[in-house]
């Protein structure tokens, strides 16, 4: 019974496919899975928007939206209807084709990432051997769409937003990849299914998630920072800093195209959170062994929910960074820490079992954290600028 509940979606799909001829089963199966993913995440997006607005409201001692439906839970429907019925304006001087393609590319590439993410036991669309690589390839294409949007709008604010977005995303993409590499080093596979299975054992009832190791913990923190920056979320939302750039790269978008950007941003958050929980938090695994009776997909979406809450919490807490702070942080703190973490992961692998590797690895990382944090992030004092040639 428990096993069946765990596999309910897989069994449901197989039961549906059983009515079809043999040759149809594979393509129809893929279409069903894709439809599920494409339907599920926008629904989650709708829930998250209202959760975010209410959560941030509570953080600011407000109630948040509470007019549409009981407690405002129907707010996303009102928002959706509004954005669908709005006029779609394309600036006359915009590059119409690129302007049109940008939001589509964003949404498509963001959804492609879910193809390789296991959402439960046996619940993965494609168990690719190079799943992580595929994921990052897809994740990197969002930069393309952002720049397409900013450039094609022919608006200085859009272009500035897009420039910032690309600079930021490329900087943090490095950190994102390097922090994930340690997981690949330890699990020996790029397949996300195998990475989850590498964490799938318990000792004393507690799981062997990668976050519970010194290198895993450090990598997770770096991954979380880089992931937040990668999805342009607050406090790294410089590309759409409304106080200085109107709305950044999607200034010239309205109606449904704007809704697509909004959707793309949130689905990217889901996807980054899902990858983070897959790499470091054991994916669909239960946090304690006796809770394994609960279906695996519940754990996956539970972790997703928790990380979304953390995203919202951070947004409600932190002010936006400045561009130089952002870049300093990426290149002077996150990147050195990630590189050091690679070394620590190797050390951990070759020191063998025992308490010594815990002490040594933790000590190296904490020491590095404190010293890089002290030295690298020290506030610099600048005197008045002297312009030699321009007066």
């Amino acid at each position: 019974m428990i096993g069946r509940l765990d596999q309910i979606f897989v069994l449901l799909k197989h039961w549906l496919l059983g009515y079809l001829p043999e040759s149809w089963q594979t393509p129809v199966g893929v279409i069903i899975s894709v439809a599920c993913i494409v339907g599920l995440y926008p629904a989650l997006f709708a829930v998250t928007t209202v959760l975010e607005r209410k959560g941030v409201g509570r953080i600011q001692n407000r109630l948040g939206p509470n007019r549409v439906g009981p407690y405002g839970i129907l707010q996303p429907m009102a928002d959706g209807i509004k954005s669908l019925t709005k006029e779609d304006i394309v600036p006359t001087s915009a590059d119409a084709v690129v302007h049109f393609l940008a939001p589509i590319i964003l949404v498509v590439t963001v959804f492609m990432g879910f193809a390789v993410l296991p959402m439960g036991r046996n619940m993965v669309l494609v168990d690719m051997d190079a799943g992580l690589l595929f994921y990052f390839a897809m994740g990197a294409s969002t930069e393309l769409s952002v720049f397409m949007a900013g450039w094609s709008s022919r608006n200085k604010y859009s272009l500035l937003g897009a420039m910032r977005a690309v600079a930021q995303m490329i900087s943090y993409e490095v950190a994102l990849l390097l922090s994930s590499v340690v997981v690949v080093m330890m699990s020996g596979s790029l397949s996300l299914v195998k990475i989850v299975e590498a964490q799938n054992h318990y000792s004393y009832g507690l799981p062997h998630w990668f976050i519970f190791t010194p290198w895993g913990c450090a990598a997770f923190i770096m991954y979380a920072i880089a992931g937040t920056a990668e999805t342009n979320r607050s406090p790294f939302d410089l590309p759409e800093g409304e106080s200085e750039l109107v709305a950044g790269y999607h200034t010239e978008y309205s109606g449904f195209k704007f809704a697509l950007f909004f959707l793309g941003e949130y689905v990217a958050m889901f996807s980054i959170s899902a990858l983070g929980s897959t790499l470091f938090l054991g994916g669909w695994m239960a946090p304690v062994s006796w809770l394994q009776v609960v279906p695996s997909w519940i754990w996956f979406f539970g972790k997703l929910f928790v990380s979304m809450c953390v995203f919202i919490w951070l947004r409600g807490t932190l002010p936006r960074l400045r561009q130089d702070q952002l870049m300093n942080f990426a290149w002077k703190f996150v990147l050195p820490m990630c590189l050091l973490n690679l070394f620590v992961a190797g050390l951990w692998r070759f020191m063998g079992e025992g308490w010594l590797r815990w002490v040594v690895c933790s000590a190296i990382l904490i020491l590095a954290y404190v010293s890089i944090g002290r030295e690298g992030m020290r506030r610099k004092k600048f005197g008045p600028r002297n312009y030699r040639y321009a007066e």
Partner: protein, 278 residues
């Protein structure tokens, strides 16, 4: 250490988040259409016309002198004078506005009309829910829509309204006193005329009349229930326009003052009109 501030901040927002469910005092906002905060007494937005008594049309204080219309900077007031007259609060026949329109889409809430009005007829309202789906007619308020009772004025601006009432009562008392004195003088003259021969009778009648006339102002202010004694004293001595304190927030700018002075210069005959023609 790096990140300490972030953790502190996160703790603070978490406290806010949890606290907002528990304590009502934390909430900074009010659920507006259902609950509303009391308006501060000095709040004002658009003018309204004050009327005394029950009937708004009869009790309208406005005498269509058109000072406000002339002074209004964006020219949002339109007044048409009546051909006939109706008695005002002192019982003197006055013309009244047959038409008094204020276009609140033009009005800039400067309160100059209130400050120049010598009859306390136009005051600032606190109503702010004036949204309408009729862009032209809905924002053009006629005198019926503008009329509000004196009780309403007391409700929204209690201090200011009490002052105004005291001033009006003082004026009324003064007018009545004068009327009475004039009547007494006339009566005395009438009494004196036929009885020129009998000197003793005249000597007895004259002091009696004058004491009666003097007693009247002493008793009159006591009859007004709401009148503070301090307010009546200066009113009795000085001219009504000079005694009038400039109400509320508009008093700091030089514009209302000059407007008032200009108005006085322009219409020197206006205050005299209120004196009863005996």
């Amino acid at each position: 250490m790096l990140g300490e501030g972030i953790l502190k901040g996160l703790a603070e927002t978490a406290k806010n988040f949890a606290g907002s469910f528990v304590s009502k005092e934390r909430m900074t906002t009010v659920e507006y259409p259902e609950e509303r905060l009391p308006l501060p007494e000095a709040s004002r937005n658009f003018p309204f016309l004050v009327y005394d008594g029950e009937d708004w049309e009869k009790g309208l204080r406005c005498v269509a002198c058109q000072i406000c219309e002339k002074e209004c900077p964006p020219k949002c007031i339109y007044i048409e004078k009546s051909k006939d007259k109706k008695p005002d609060y002192v019982g003197k026949p006055q013309i009244y506005p047959t038409k008094f329109d204020i276009d609140i889409s033009v009005c800039m809430s400067c309160q100059i009309c209130v400050e120049v009005c010598p009859f306390e007829a136009i005051k600032m309202n606190t109503e702010f829910e004036l949204a309408t789906d009729d862009r032209f007619g809905g924002l053009l308020l006629d005198r019926k829509e503008l009329a509000r009772s004196n009780e309403y004025y007391h409700e929204i601006h209690p201090t200011e309204a009490t002052e105004v009432d005291a001033r009006l009562a003082g004026e009324k008392a003064k007018v009545e006193m004068k009327a009475k004195a004039a009547a007494d003088a006339a009566a005395a003259k009438a009494a004196a005329a036929p009885a020129t021969g009998t000197g003793a009778a005249v000597a007895a009648a004259k002091p009696a009349a004058s004491t009666e006339a003097k007693a009247a102002p002493a008793t009159k202010p006591e009859e007004m229930a709401k009148v503070p004694a301090a307010a009546t004293a200066p009113v009795a001595e000085t001219a009504p326009a000079a005694a009038k304190p400039v109400p509320g927030t508009g008093s700091d700018g030089p514009a209302p003052m000059t407007a008032e002075e200009k108005n006085k210069a322009e219409t020197p005959a206006k205050p005299n009109e209120r004196e009863p023609k005996v």
